[in-house]
Symmetry: D2
Subunit: 355 residues, 4 copies
């Protein structure tokens, strides 16, 4: 249960890390949108591991196939089903983890909830599941770009205690940590390699932004744009916090510092500053949407850790395998995807706002 996101642009992911395939069904994408596998693959390629020395060297077959909902290069309004096949993975190395709970992982909670779980590679709780989110996000990106010129991008703002000091958007895709500050990027890479050597991992902060978002998106009360973003972002594995605009820093500001004055800009209502991060009262203002996510350090570490098993024994385990010492660079495309899903959904909902 709980594998669907969205009200009108509905995304359902399925699949386990070591099952035969993973996929996603997008129900509610409007008809007439230009779409093909290349458009989706572009976003998926940015998600792939094995991209650099600081991410896991595993090979994953991420190739997307469109199984339905697109005809002669355009969406038909029918559900769009996307699939990727898993290579024949060797699950034998997960055998020792069958009955033991890795600290920081979902092993224990799945076991306590369901009584029966696919332990291989984390099963359903694996980051592999985000493949479907990114694939669906690519469709949302195509929709929002087409109808409103919306642009969503993300980057690593902080990693292992190192924070960016400069911002060059072009820099983001030039370094393996997706950092807009080349100097900080180098330090982040060093921090990751050091963590790896010390058999530990590091966390960080990912930021996602959206430009050209039409004003009016989001519903008052429960389904505020802020709320849906919080929902979306905290559904990403390893994310432990989310903030909008100034976020937690706003807690230390005073009202006259935080309020964004309204101004007229060539007849258009805008705000002089953007402490609010692009939304007021749960509805987009038209200013840039700014979201930050706290990403915990990767739970899989090669150090001995204290734990218990399903038989009620205390145990010590070492989680072997090639894991990313920081998941932050890989969270970036997923966070972009989730913001895109929220915006696409709110965009369609907003069509019903007025008579």
């Amino acid at each position: 249960m709980g594998s669907t996101f969205g009200r009108l642009f509905r995304v359902t992911t399925w699949g386990e890390s070591h099952g035969p395939a993973l996929g996603v069904v997008v129900d509610g994408c409007p008809a007439g949108l230009e779409l093909n596998e290349e458009i989706i693959q572009r976003d998926l390629d940015r998600r792939r591991v094995g991209q650099s020395e600081v991410t896991s060297p595993r090979q994953e077959r991420d190739r997307v196939t469109i199984l339905s909902g697109v005809f002669e290069g355009k969406t038909t309004g029918a559900p769009i089903s996307l699939i990727t096949y898993n290579a024949d993975a060797d699950s034998s190395k997960y055998e020792p983890l069958r009955d033991v709970f890795r600290p920081g992982h979902a092993d224990y909670t799945y076991w306590v909830k369901y009584g029966h779980r696919d332990h291989r590679g984390g099963g359903r709780s694996s980051a592999r599941e985000t493949w479907g989110r990114v694939a669906a996000g690519a469709i949302a990106r195509q929709l929002l770009r087409t109808v409103a010129g919306v642009e969503v991008y993300g980057f690593v703002r902080e990693l292992g205690g190192i924070t960016i000091e400069t911002f060059d958007r072009d820099e983001i895709d030039r370094n393996p940590v997706r950092c807009p500050d080349p100097v900080a990027a180098q330090k982040m890479v060093a921090a990751i390699l050091e963590a790896k050597e010390q058999k530990t991992s590091v966390g960080g902060i990912v930021e996602v932004r959206a430009r050209n978002v039409p004003p009016g998106l989001g519903e008052p009360t429960m389904d505020k744009l802020d709320a849906l973003i919080g929902y979306a972002m905290l559904s990403i594995p390893a994310v432990k916090g989310v903030e909008i605009g100034d976020g937690f820093a706003a807690a230390r500001l005073r009202g006259h510092e935080h309020n964004d004055p309204f101004i007229l800009d060539n007849g258009r209502v805008r705000t002089l500053t953007n402490h609010a991060g692009g939304m007021l009262g749960g509805i987009s203002t038209g200013e840039e949407i700014i979201v930050r996510l706290a990403v915990k350090p990767t739970s899989s570490i090669a150090r001995p850790q204290r734990t218990v098993d399903i038989h009620g024994n205390e145990r010590t385990i070492v989680v072997e395998g090639r894991h990313d010492p920081s998941i932050c660079p890989r969270v970036v495309p997923v966070a972009e995807a989730m913001l895109l899903l929220v915006l696409a959904d709110c965009y369609l909902m907003n069509r019903a706002a007025r008579v």
Copy 2:
């Protein structure tokens, strides 16, 4: 649209600040729960303004009436409708705000979305709307207490830059800022009064916790417990960030510091520490749930502010009226309510987890 929260424990609020009444409908509360107006009123009384020198002196009629769903002291399974009537409010003082956008408020975004809005007292975007959330939360509290002994409480952790240094839970309801540290509480009161004098406002951080939460609550993937909490908390007016467990601080920890080791405690699986804040893989562990919210400084301030009106004129406004210089103490019961709603909903959902 978007006035409903929850999947099985469904809460729909309605009503505007200056309309004849406000209310909430709770559909999905199980039958057979002991319930009456006193139980609900208890939580509502903690929400009331006019409680101290640091909150707004306005008088609000918060008295709840149960209109349906309860028979002879017990719920029947039918929707529970709760109502409170607004006193005949004088809306005339809002007349000057009819066509102008208060900075930091939802005036502009409602106008741009709907074209037509009830400007009186903020209308639907008023904090008055949270009455229904707290009333519904009281029912969720009664349900969770009855079925599992769950206990939810909140407090102000930081306000106007002052952070608690000690924690005494009994202290929370003894001071007007709902602060568990009496020394910090005094400083917070002083900070609020100073802000008031300076015609500005202050933000802060609210924390909410839940004890005795059964393990297994929350659904994997999209409807993670974390995600639903993020959704719930960021739907509260003035909240700009939410974090679980160590939250943003986790971004600066290393894996071996952040992972909570599993231990056996009288045969029960527990964690030695609780950096995760009571959930792993989106599912409750049984440890205490810890959530923090960033609350922005109140938008209504008595200083001149730059803005525009619906006719396309630049304007300067001063938002008169008796507004709380910090909304943090009043966010506490609302945040408790929202956490209760999430937990009640997840508790019922979890009944369908296993054959």
Copy 3:
């Protein structure tokens, strides 16, 4: 649970027959729609009992009050809350029914499901609940009339075995049985009076139609227009069957008789006949929508009936009280309302159909 209908035009009813009030919350009505209590009351007045010799002489206070969502004569996009207060009803006459199950009623099933029920006047299962449906339907009518000139009307096609032989739409509101054939109407009245005298009741068939429905409403697959109509109609108390267009008669036709040929009518695609009742593949064609409902004879009859009580005793009961010997005339406005709710919901959904 289960008190909400609709996806974008969401209607939630609440209240029991002998509670203090009944109401409905409509969330999702677009902003800017002209609305006031008179517009809603008009439909409610058609629902009222005590209208004639053939309906129950009970007096019900059906007056609607708008509590939210409308400002200065127009909807604001916020939830519209409607309420009507019950007169101080004398519940004492229901005391003998507290522990016994009336045949044909929901007494037993509520008891077996919930263990605890409000027995007074049927509680939640009373036809009183349809007040909220008709009130919400009036808003849907106003929306559909405004945006598309849609016109929905219903009538009694058959009652107590008497079927209409002529059709004059103006006749419908001229007789107490809402029958478009004045001769049949007289016979139906006689049939009702005869059933009353014989301490029994009669069933019948209600028909509802919609004109000027835009083509394209309804979603393929699960949320077909047909499916949503079936859902809506079979949620009305006492309805045991629903058919679209030729319905069950279509089961006896041959393909070349049933298929409606497409023609061009002043450049517009239409069908020559309308066996399909206005929809193909679950989507409206633009032709008249035709729906018929089978209404069972009223369950409350003044004859001795065999039954059991909650204590496990066999009993004989006579259901006293002033009950309609046929509910058909009163089902008409409810069926209209439900069709209006489906169409309003589908109309808003359809705005998201194309890029």
Copy 4:
């Protein structure tokens, strides 16, 4: 949009007749249920065409593959993804239908709604889509059988004007028309063959029943069991009517004839008769659930028919191809599946009914 059915047992189908594959995702099946491909295939085999002289001789590859949600023979609580691959179908014969609307089909309505459609084999509106319903229904069957011994079966009650006169449940699967009366079965076969020869088609009535349904399923008001069944059944292609228990015949009964007296049967509350078809007030009584569906004659007929095309020309078409002259026998397993989906969903919902 609208490809999902269910609230807790959520079923989403995807795929077009001539696309590479079709599938279904079931989210919400409880963990711990024994499940494998054989169990699902059993129901799918009953759905297959090419089974006899009276159904279409087309070969379809209906083999199911489980892609997720099952581990070591048991469900895990994760979404269950099922797929079947389409053989390389020759779509060229559909080329003449690219721009013309077949009477009785969804061609026109899809075109008017979406502007862009996959015309090959009916695309999304093809009966091929029901593959996923039957596959999901098999999982629901396994769940309901396991937890409550529920048994669902269907049959053809009437076809081409011929109605059953005897009932032998074992007979149903012995003849190609799924008729429980062997004499009527022969006549039905003859009626189909005659219709085929006359280049037309015949409709009929399908009946579905469920035994051992626990009392208490279904929610009052909107989500009545009756309503959900109406929703489910009218979402099946070609179904134009649905009735519960006595259905339309109830419209001609009197109250004392239709009311089912309650009796005690070994201490258990039962009804002496079952005119109500197993539900009262929208909630199951525990008696057999009885549902009937009106199935229209197949729209594809080999006679010249009058129609128009997308360019605004009047046309005459003959729908070539090997189509079933009556779809009734094939509706049986689909109707069973839909009833199973409703019951599984209501069964899980009911777990939240009481404290």
